[in-house]
């Protein structure tokens, strides 16, 4: 195998990982932005136990992004190291890029065993519903029509969501019951 070919493959590999890192960052910030803009996300997050840390990451450890619900706020923590309550780990960069780019449904990725989940599977379901709404804001309808289980609906425009990526924290009103109270 030539040196040029090896270099080329290495560049592609690093580019994919870099791309995944950027999309993870956008997903984390997007979740926070949607918690500010969309009552459905806010209501979902309100049911998460206080102190919950949710991490999306690539196996074996990077890139990753985390969000934390604490003291009535949802905060994007970026790629900092923190113990997660719920950790979703994609098994490979190559297989996760279509999911992260909105070309494949996240539920389909779970069905195909493309990701592992450490933690409460009920909380993971809530996260998936939130991510579907986030995807509805981040991607155009022509893309989400193919991957979301039902047509995307938005309570604010795409531009407000993109602008919301600049904020790292959103207030969350307390829910009547949290997920840990469920039977």
């Amino acid at each position: 195998m030539s040196t040029a070919h090896t270099t080329h493959v290495g560049i592609i590999r690093r580019t994919k990982r870099l791309l995944a890192g950027i999309i993870f960052w956008v997903m984390g910030r997007g979740l926070v932005a949607c918690a500010r803009l969309d009552s459905r996300v806010r209501d979902e997050v309100a049911t998460w136990p206080d102190g919950s840390v949710i991490t999306l990451m690539m196996w074996p450890g990077t890139p990753k992004t985390s969000v934390r619900k604490f003291d009535g706020r949802l905060t994007a923590l970026g790629s900092r190291d923190i113990e997660a309550t719920l950790r979703v780990t994609f098994k490979s960069v190559a297989a996760s890029v279509p999911v992260l780019l909105g070309m494949k449904a996240i539920l389909q990725a779970f069905a195909e065993h493309r990701a592992t989940v450490r933690g409460d599977l009920g909380l993971a379901m809530s996260l998936v519903r939130c991510l579907h709404i986030v995807e509805g804001y981040l991607y155009p309808d022509i893309m989400t029509r193919r991957i979301l289980p039902s047509p995307a609906t938005r309570q604010a425009g795409h531009l407000r969501a993109y602008a919301g990526l600049l904020g790292a924290s959103a207030p969350i009103a307390p829910a009547e019951t949290t997920r840990g109270d469920a039977a």
């Binding site: 069905a111 195909e112 450490r118 009920g122 809530s126 998936v128 109270d181 469920a182």
Partner: protein, 394 residues
């Protein structure tokens, strides 16, 4: 149908039929195990089912290291930890689980603790997060024909402090050996025979129609339904028919292998919630809810249901049904089996018959929407959709 990507895993060795239990000593020896712990419950000991296994072990010259018969109806973290502690204390080297889903899941939970050296089972809650070079050898001897737990890579354990049922999903949990012996199910009461068979049917139908159905899980699901259609009526007419009992045990195992890989969907999500919220027996909830869940999925999963008509109703009925009517007829086939179970075994067909009320349904729907099985249903559903299905089944 070939999915773009799928995974399938089933490492269990199957021993099925006459004197299958008597082969356990050989299987232990082949895994270099000499001191097993028997895991069961007190009811099964009183019924003499554990004695059948103990007798076979004695005949094979196996010394049982310890017997743990404190498994309750709903397993819990505490029970799993107690079991793991007793196993270590007795110096055992393998587990033999004799019982229904709760006993088998308890043994699986203990195998996680024992194999990973975990101090807290919660460390491994989730999907595919157990890492172990080798698990504690586990032999599963089911005493019902429904859960398929003897070949599934899943266990449900209750956290009694937080009042939540925790899911553990990993191929590492599939037992090394699954033993199907008709003696284990000959004494099952008719209603339990019917409800556990409906559970197996639900596993097969949902595995066949959910997001990750694949050629291998399809083959298992089809074979399971064929056996259920042929032998459930026989077992209900003559509970002592050993051939029918063995066939139902095989159907349960086949359906278990199918859904362990392609998972289940909305019917199980609702059934788990009915159990968690209203203590409804799982198999009965499955039988009641299956036709309603299929009707909900019909517009998305119709082609798959149409294929199942061949197995639910037989080749002549399949051939006589126009292609466009086959999916609906498949739901009719499920209803026919359910009505047969109701007539011959008193199986309930409505949620109201098991004591559920309209007032309970919103809480059940809210719980179902967060069940992991919803990820795999072929059609999206909101809490309102689920409430509507439950109202239809009331």
């Amino acid at each position: 149908m070939i999915p773009a990507y799928y995974e399938f895993s089933n490492r269990a060795k199957i021993l099925s039929g006459e004197y299958a239990i008597e082969h356990i000593p050989f299987e232990l020896a082949s895994m270099e195990c000499a001191r097993p712990m028997l895991v069961t419950n007190k009811q099964l000991r009183e019924l003499g089912l554990a004695d059948i296994v103990l007798s076979a072990l004695a005949d094979g010259g196996v010394t049982v290291g310890a017997i743990f018969d404190d498994v309750p109806v709903d397993s819990s973290v505490q029970v799993v930890n107690d079991l793991a502690g007793a196993y270590r204390e007795a110096g055992c080297d393998s587990l033999i689980a004799v019982g229904g889903g709760s006993v088998l899941d308890t043994a699986k939970g203990a195998s996680i603790v024992l194999s990973t050296g975990a101090t807290d089972l919660l460390e491994h809650m989730g999907s595919e997060v157990v890492n172990a070079r080798a698990m504690v050898p586990l032999i599963a001897v089911p005493t019902t024909s429904g859960t398929g737990s003897e070949v599934t890579g899943a266990a449900v354990i209750k956290d009694t402090e937080r009042h939540v049922k925790m899911g553990f999903v990993t191929p590492h949990l599939v037992p090394d050996v699954a033993v199907l012996d008709p003696r284990m199910t000959l004494g099952l009461p008719p209603r339990l025979t019917a409800s556990t068979a409906m559970d197996a049917l639900c596993h097969a139908v949902e595995a066949f129609s959910c997001r990750q159905a694949n050629p291998l899980s399809d083959a298992h699901a089809r074979a399971a339904i064929d056996l259920l259609r042929e032998y459930l009526p026989v077992a209900l007419d003559d509970p002592k028919d050993a051939t029918a009992r063995l066939a139902l045990a095989n159907a349960s195992l086949l359906a278990g292998a199918a859904f362990s890989n392609s998972m289940v969907g909305i019917v199980h999500a609702m059934g788990h919630a009915c159990g968690g919220q209203c203590s409804i027996a799982h198999g009965e909830a499955m039988g009641i809810l299956l036709p309603h869940g299929m009707a909900y999925n019909l517009d998305v999963a119709g082609e798959r249901y149409a294929e199942l008509l061949l197995h639910l109703a037989g080749s002549e009925a399949f051939a006589a049904t126009p292609a466009e009517d086959r999916a609906a007829a498949a739901i009719g086939g499920v209803r026919t089996l359910l009505e047969l179970a109701a007539e011959k075994a008193g199986m309930p067909t409505r949620l109201s018959e098991v004591g559920m009320t309209r007032e309970q349904l919103p809480a059940v729907a809210a719980l179902a929407i967060n069940d992991g099985a919803m990820s795999f249903n072929p059609k999206d559903a909101s809490a309102e959709d689920i409430l509507s299905i439950l109202e239809g089944a009331l």
